[in-house]
Symmetry: C2
Subunit: 476 residues, 2 copies
């Protein structure tokens, strides 16, 4: 099947349009589906030409900015969403209160004390405790990886600051993250169990710029909690270079980070009610919260903006979809999926039937691949979706999609998912850093994203069949 | 004339070697020069193959790091230079005490107060005063350029924070800097003269990453001093975007920066004594100090390292040069050229005869062009230098070279200069920011630089003729 996008710059996306129009499904497609596929193709092309998700991203990053769960910015984001969604054409918009873990970053400082004193660019890991007021000064035990730390003898670690120098690999599918993030989430408890005083990691990020990458850590129950930090990649280089002299390397660390009593936030739920089967829900997920260092542009204003604009284009269709299309902007994805758990708990209790989910939390890169996680009987629908996506330069993938973090709680209950895979090659240069700002968002790539999400969701919300289990319970 | 470098990556530099060897000047060159030019070509090729300036840059950025004039890092840098130069083969090494302007950055903070509160990435400009302890909160008067501010009526400025939003243009020759830097050096006094409370500028830099660019400002005598700050480019975008709502934009600014009593630093002077005319000096200049935010890698560990390695290769020649080759690592270039003035003052007083100068302060980019600022009678020598440089991918330029900042005081006295122009396209992404770290230095580009500086200086230090006026006084 012809594609016009695979290697062309985003700015040329509009040149796909004539081809895309020519790609409307052939007349010999299964009769009940041909109108639907034609609608989806038209929706795709309209979205590619006219959507403007960037305006939503502009507004969220400019008028709200950083919005860590429980902060004033987070409250402003909820208000922003409730207000802005009102203009989009939903049938219902409501906040869903969520109790969220609260954490205060405070300030952090790190420096090499010896052999060659230098100040370091550092950030506290999310949910980390702070240091004593006088900080911590100790010799450094450096490990190439979390595995090397796990294999270390306690005497190599005891009374030291552990430095895990593991690098993250740059990959289009972002899969370097899953491997590298282990040292961030598990590192503090692994180090503490061996007697370390604090943990410092090389940032879980691919940027060579001097930004430290935050993100949540997780203390294991029953293990002493120690403060945990990330250094930017150049600063990790600098600490490693200090070992060249063969002398003891000592660091000073300070952090006033602290965990606070849980506070309130909200998921924001908006839906376009299904005309025929309103109780069957196709859920679109993005998270409204962000880390505090940047303005949360790639993570996840792009996802929020893309799905808001997707919903707007669906709401502008001449008819309502058969199923309900529900947009959920989740609270506190970053520091523990509180919004996800609250939503799913309530949805299960109310026996709301979730037929399918799709999440946008992979940044603003061009989408290059489409995966599913559905029952085999739905493969013909997936194939039809692939045909609709091909002119956008999106190739078909496999059936191993697991959805994103916010949908993981519904997925765990068996809900089928779709996954539009954004090119993440550059995503982890920005993700969770102060440098995650709007200027790195490509408006043209967002047009492709809206075209893809809108056309796929339109099909999903209108086909007769389901995609496997609905959640909760079996389909009727 | 054939060149092998114009568009090839630095990693391929070594592939020039066979061609370079083949480029030794033809036998019919003016007889007195042929041996010299052959030596220069051989020196060039040895330096291209074997030089390792990066090791010096590694050491200076790792073992010293930031070294703003008068700081502990600055003192460490002087000690570092005196120690490290001892291994290079100089005939004499000495520190020259210099009184330097002292300034303390303290901490800085900026945020949008309204319409949409956000924290901003900001840095105090060098030599700026601080704010009152409670900071300054005021409405913002935004100007597209320094010229627009100069044309403003006082009532548009009075009682406000002035924001100059002028962008710097990316240019290979770095000439965008000269234009954009005016707002940094002159901005505070222009704003204060019209009643402004503080000045904020868009960083004088080309990076879209979230680094604010520091650098010295200069208060005009007799004009009230106001605190001055730079925002990173994404933060300048953010402030500009705040105006979209049509409401008053208010900023809060805080800085504890302050000027201190002058303190001591030193130029470090090292020379390879001329075998025939030791009183005639060819001076090679770089500055040892750096700004405090990064580790001063591009600015100016690369220049220091390149010229140290250049000197090492000259010292390794089988004979001493006819003239003295003097390396001066200047103190406090960044905050006022104190080292330059001290050196030139003493040199004039002692009537030391400076025949020619060359400065390395353009970062670690590949050299693409060679300019001179010499008397016409020296053009044949310049032409010979061009032939030696051509295989390195360096094209001939013109005779308008003015030397760098540290040589400006000798240049003002009439000293001829040469200029090897480094590609500065990416330099101002890093210059004066926290991101100026070693990982962005390309070791292969430094090899080209050493080859170029060494071969040119070798010729200059050995030709019979002078290059125009010597400083001080006329040539004998």
């Amino acid at each position: 099947m012809a594609r016009c996008l695979p290697a062309v710059p985003a700015a040329l996306l509009l040149s796909c349009l004539p081809l895309a129009l020519a790609m409307a499904p052939p007349a010999d497609a299964a009769a009940p589906e041909s109108r639907l596929l034609r609608e989806a193709a038209e929706l795709r092309d309209r979205a590619l030409a006219d959507s403007d998700a960037w305006q939503h991203a502009w507004s969220l990053t400019t008028e709200v900015g950083p919005r860590p769960a429980g902060s004033a910015g987070d409250r402003a984001a909820v208000t922003w969403a409730l207000t802005r969604l009102a203009d989009i054409g939903f049938d219902e918009i409501r906040p869903q209160p969520v109790e969220v873990a609260a954490w205060e970053r405070g300030t952090a400082e790190a420096r090499v004390v010896q052999p060659f004193p230098q100040r370091l660019t550092v950030t506290a890991l999310g949910l980390s405790i702070g240091t004593p007021e006088t900080g911590i000064e100790a010799p450094v035990a450096r490990f190439e990886s979390l595995a090397a730390l796990e294999a270390a003898k306690p005497e190599e670690v005891r009374g030291r600051i552990v430095f895990i120098d593991e690098r993250m690999e740059r990959m289009r599918d972002g899969s370097g993250y899953g491997a590298a993030v282990q040292k961030r989430s598990r590192g503090p408890s692994v180090a503490a169990a061996r007697g370390a005083l604090a943990l410092v990691i090389r940032s879980v990020g691919t940027s060579t710029h001097r930004f430290a990458h935050t993100g949540a850590t997780r203390y294991e129950q029953g293990v002493r909690q120690i403060p945990a930090f990330a250094l930017s990649n150049p600063d990790a280089d600098l600490v490693t270079a200090q070992f060249a002299a063969g002398e003891e390397v000592r660091l000073y660390l300070y952090s006033s980070a602290r965990n606070l009593a849980p506070t309130r936030s909200a998921n924001v739920i908006a839906e376009i009610r299904g005309a025929e089967r309103p109780d069957e829900i196709v859920i679109m997920a993005a998270h409204l919260d962000s880390w505090d260092l940047g303005t949360g542009a790639q993570d996840n204003a792009t996802g929020v903006a893309t799905l808001m604009e997707t919903a707007r284009f669906i709401a502008m269709m001449p008819r309502r979809p058969a199923r309900t299309v529900r947009l959920v902007l989740y609270a506190n994805e970053e520091r523990g999926l509180d919004g996800s758990r609250a939503y799913t708990g309530a949805a299960l209790q109310a026996e709301q039937r979730h037929v399918l989910g799709i999440e946008a939390d992979g940044g603003g890169g061009l989408i290059y691949r489409f995966d599913s996680g559905v029952a085999e009987h739905a493969f013909p629908v997936i194939d039809a979706m692939r045909e609709i996506l091909a002119p956008l330069g999106i190739e078909g993938g496999d059936n191993t999609a697991r959805g994103g973090a916010d949908l993981s709680t519904l997925r765990a209950e068996g809900m089928p998912v779709l996954s539009l895979r954004h090119d993440m090659s550059a995503y982890f240069d920005l993700h969770h850093t102060a440098n995650d700002t709007l200027d790195k968002v490509d408006p043209e790539a967002l047009k492709q994203a809206v075209a893809a999400y809108a056309s796929v969701v339109w099909i999903a919300a209108n086909v007769e069949d389901d995609f496997g289990a609905t959640v909760p319970g079996a389909s009727d």
